[in-house]
């Protein structure tokens, strides 16, 4: 087992950094936030060598750390209602979590709508959908999120339904029409 934090990082985290960033970006749809999230995950993961060493599946363990940091971070934001005490016209802030200009420019209209709708989901719903499209099965998702396997199916279904509803509210088109069109 590597001795120092950086040794642990080099041996156990760095090989999976790209995967972590990909998943983080899927979750938050924003480059800066994704990098923040992965950085926090790296620090948290390397602080706990015992847990890491005992994990049967290092990548899954890293996903669990990422998931927890994601949930914690989102809940911290939710505890606050941000009230601008400055003149709102002086500078229009980018609302946290929305895709930035660069992200928006790289996506089609349908993809932008889908990203916005996705960001309206609860954080756990987002995690479940992202882990699914990353290829994790229900057992693996259970080990990552701690959510019982039997409950997972129902939550996945609700996540997809919520996503569809948000997408329809945004675009006025049914999600199927929008997405079929975008895939043509």
């Amino acid at each position: 087992m590597p001795d120092t934090r950086t040794d642990r990082f080099d041996a156990l985290v760095a090989p999976h950094l790209e995967t972590l960033l990909r998943v983080a970006y899927r979750l938050v749809r924003n480059r800066s936030d994704a990098q923040d999230l992965v950085q926090e995950t790296c620090v948290a993961a390397c602080e706990n060598p015992a847990a890491f060493g005992q994990a049967d599946h290092p990548v899954r363990w890293l996903m669990r750390v990422l998931h927890n940091r994601f949930i914690d971070g989102t809940r911290r934001k939710k505890r606050s209602q941000l009230v601008p005490l400055d003149d709102a016209d002086a500078a229009t802030p980018l609302v946290c979590g929305l895709p930035g200009p660069e992200e928006s420019a790289l996506q089609s209209d349908a993809q932008r709508a889908l990203s916005r709708a996705f960001l309206q989901l609860e954080e756990v719903q987002r995690t479940l959908l992202v882990l699914r499209i990353e290829g994790y099965d229900l057992d693996e998702i259970e080990s990552i999120t701690g959510i019982d396997r039997e409950v997972l199916r129902a939550r996945l279904h609700r996540a997809r339904r919520s996503l569809a509803r948000h997408l329809e509210q945004q675009t006025g088109a049914t999600s199927t029409a929008l997405l079929i069109g975008s895939q043509s």
Binding site: T6, S32, S80, A91, S182
Partner: protein, 610 residues
């Protein structure tokens, strides 16, 4: 397959579906609305664009890990920091703004003493901006003089103070009952200290930036500068879910920074920074940490991070930003896809700054040529387009070679740049003239002719090909599509023609009829522009009978539900007075096999609207 099996795949399938399973799944999805929705949604989510690993990211993570989670004086992370009182900040800002110091533009231009450049791998030396040598670990850039440091001015716009006690707050501000509580929290000495420390550190870091001059936001810029930026910080206060200020979190305030570029003509362009969330956690003296909150941090370290982001994303790039990119571009240990991404970053910076010097750097040129020589044709098309405007003659020969050996879309890219930058070269004129006659692709011939003969002949070709009934439908519309949606060097730089609406509006009756006839049969157009062009064309020429016929035909016969929706909505909005249109819409609303088509059209019909 049945719904349960589809759900099983969506919820639990690990391996990719074999062709038979996929066929069965898609057959069921085509007939089941609920399964279709879930299926397409999940697939579409999987296909959303991702994010490449940023250069130096691993090094940054490693550096953070090395510093650990405990508070450290020199820690620079992107963690949350607290800022303090608005009034204190405004006061501090006012004091500081009255005392600008000139930027020290001489001497070694190293960055903040305690901060290695974030984009450089941890083991690499801090880049001395006055040096041109790099460590052996970093690929050498071209042996040229250090590029001139850009000159620009920055004014920091402080936030407004809290409303005076007893005055009515502006809308959206903390309710009066809480204002005193917030003011009390924000006036606490530790918060004021944190704000002042951050403010001072920020200005000190800004003064280190080469070429930057700090100016008072209320004064005119002292001398013509390359660019002018206003950085406005907006300090927010956290309220709890009940709308009341949260005492325990009183020091947690989020900071948002934006930058405006004031151009010489008085126009402003606003550059939105990536959302900059900075928690200036007070120096911790005397304040117990909030449970679950990030640990104490150093305002100086966060100021360094803010300035680093400003330099990377907002200010004109200086060598500390561009040299790592240039080095990465020339790093042959990286594969082509990583290097082309780096090239795209350089291209984006050049474009944003309207300055092609980066792309003219000999090292960049060499690397681009090497990539073009060894990469696949798609890369060449991109490189040809990105180098347009740089005017480097080293690209002439490779692009001329491209004209004879590459696919049509790469030939088009080469033609655009050759015609745009090198028409004076006899080799280029000869090659283009030869293409006009000999190229097997009609669009390539036409674009080559455009390069030689100009826009008038090109427009004639666009309209002429549109009206040529002897051509296949796709060929009839391709020139117009190419005109309206010129391919960009990168996805982000692709935009429609600046005269898009004028071009569309100026199609005469014959061209409109021709387009209405050809468009439905043209198949998938480039760059996903099918729906865009169909919708815009239908709306701009709604009164033309040919367009009505086209839309009616699409509504009735198109196998694509989205196209039926577009056609139906266009008819409902513009031609509802026509009895034939009303009948067709009624039939669609009642009988279209796709529920989304029925719903969307129904909602657009005038009678149905509230």
């Amino acid at each position: 397959m049945n719904c349960r099996e589809i759900t099983g795949i969506l919820d639990n399938q690990k391996a990719a579906l074999d062709p038979g399973q996929r066929r069965d799944a898609e057959a069921h999805v085509a007939t089941c609305k609920d399964c279709a929705e879930a299926w397409h949604l999940q697939n579409a989510l999987a296909e959303l664009p991702g994010m490449p690993l940023p250069y130096g990211f691993a090094g940054r993570c490693r550096a953070l890990v090395a510093q650990g989670v405990q508070a450290a004086p020199n820690r620079r992370t992107v963690r949350r920091i607290l800022v303090g009182t608005l009034a204190a900040l405004a006061a501090a800002a006012a004091v500081v703004m009255l005392l600008p110091r000139p930027v020290d533009s001489t001497g070694p231009g190293t960055l903040a003493r305690n901060a290695p450049v974030a984009d450089v791998e941890v083991n690499a030396p801090v880049i001395d901006l006055s040096a041109t040598e790099f460590s052996p670990d970093v690929p050498q850039t071209s042996a040229i003089e250090a590029p001139a440091k850009p000159k620009f001015t920055v004014s920091i716009v402080p936030p407004r103070p809290l409303p005076a006690a007893g005055s009515a707050p502006a809308s959206g501000v903390v309710p009066p009952a809480d204002l005193e509580a917030v003011r009390a929290l924000q006036n606490s000495p530790p918060r004021q200290q944190a704000v002042q420390a951050f403010q001072s550190a920020l200005l000190e870091e800004l003064r280190r930036v080469p070429g930057l001059t700090l100016v008072d936001p209320d004064q005119p810029v002292p001398e013509p500068a390359g660019k002018n930026y206003r950085v406005a910080f907006m300090f927010l206060t956290q309220l709890g879910l009940d709308g009341r200020a949260v005492p325990g979190d009183s020091r947690i305030v989020e900071l948002t920074a934006t930058a405006e570029q004031l151009k010489a003509d008085g126009q402003k362009t606003r550059r939105m920074m990536s959302f900059l969330r900075i928690d200036l956690l007070a120096p911790c003296a005397g304040i117990p940490p909030v449970a679950g909150a990030p640990p104490c941090n150093d305002p100086r370290g966060q100021a360094t991070e803010v300035v680093r982001k400003l330099r990377q994303e907002v200010f004109p790039p200086d060598p500390s930003v561009t040299r790592p990119l240039q080095a990465r571009l020339q790093d042959t240990s990286l594969d082509a896809s990583q290097r082309i991404k780096t090239f795209e970053d350089l291209f984006r910076i050049s474009k944003d700054q309207e300055d092609l010097a980066l792309l003219r750097d000999p090292g960049v040129v060499r690397a681009a040529l090497a990539l073009a020589a060894n990469g696949d044709p798609t890369l060449r098309a991109q490189i040809w387009r990105m180098m347009r405007g740089a005017g480097n003659p080293d690209f002439i020969q490779p692009m001329l070679a491209s004209l004879t050996q590459d696919p049509a879309d790469v030939r088009l890219a080469a033609i655009e740049t050759l015609a745009g930058d090198f028409l004076g070269d006899p080799r280029v004129r000869a090659a283009l003239a030869s293409l006009v006659v000999e190229d097997p692709n009609p669009l390539v011939r036409a674009v080559a002719d455009r390069g030689i003969s100009g826009e008038a002949s090109w427009r004639r070709y666009v309209v002429g090909s549109l009206g040529d009934a002897n051509r296949p439908a796709a060929q009839r519309v391709e020139a117009l599509v190419y005109y309206l949606y010129p391919p960009g060097a990168t996805a982000a730089s692709s935009t429609s023609h600046p005269d898009y609406w004028q071009i569309l509006d100026q199609l005469d009756d014959k061209a409109v009829r021709a387009l209405a006839e050809a468009l439905p049969n043209a198949g998938k157009l480039q760059g996903g522009s099918t729906y865009n062009l169909l919708g815009n064309f239908s709306s701009r020429h709604a009164g033309n009978p040919a367009v009505t016929e086209m839309s009616l035909g699409l509504l009735e016969r198109s196998p694509n539900p989205t196209i039926r929706i577009i056609a139906g909505q266009s008819l409902a909005r513009t031609q509802y007075a026509d009895p034939r249109v009303r009948d067709a819409l009624t039939k669609a609303v009642q009988g279209d096999p796709e529920p989304s088509v029925r719903d969307q059209i129904r909602q657009t019909i005038p009678a149905a609207r509230p």
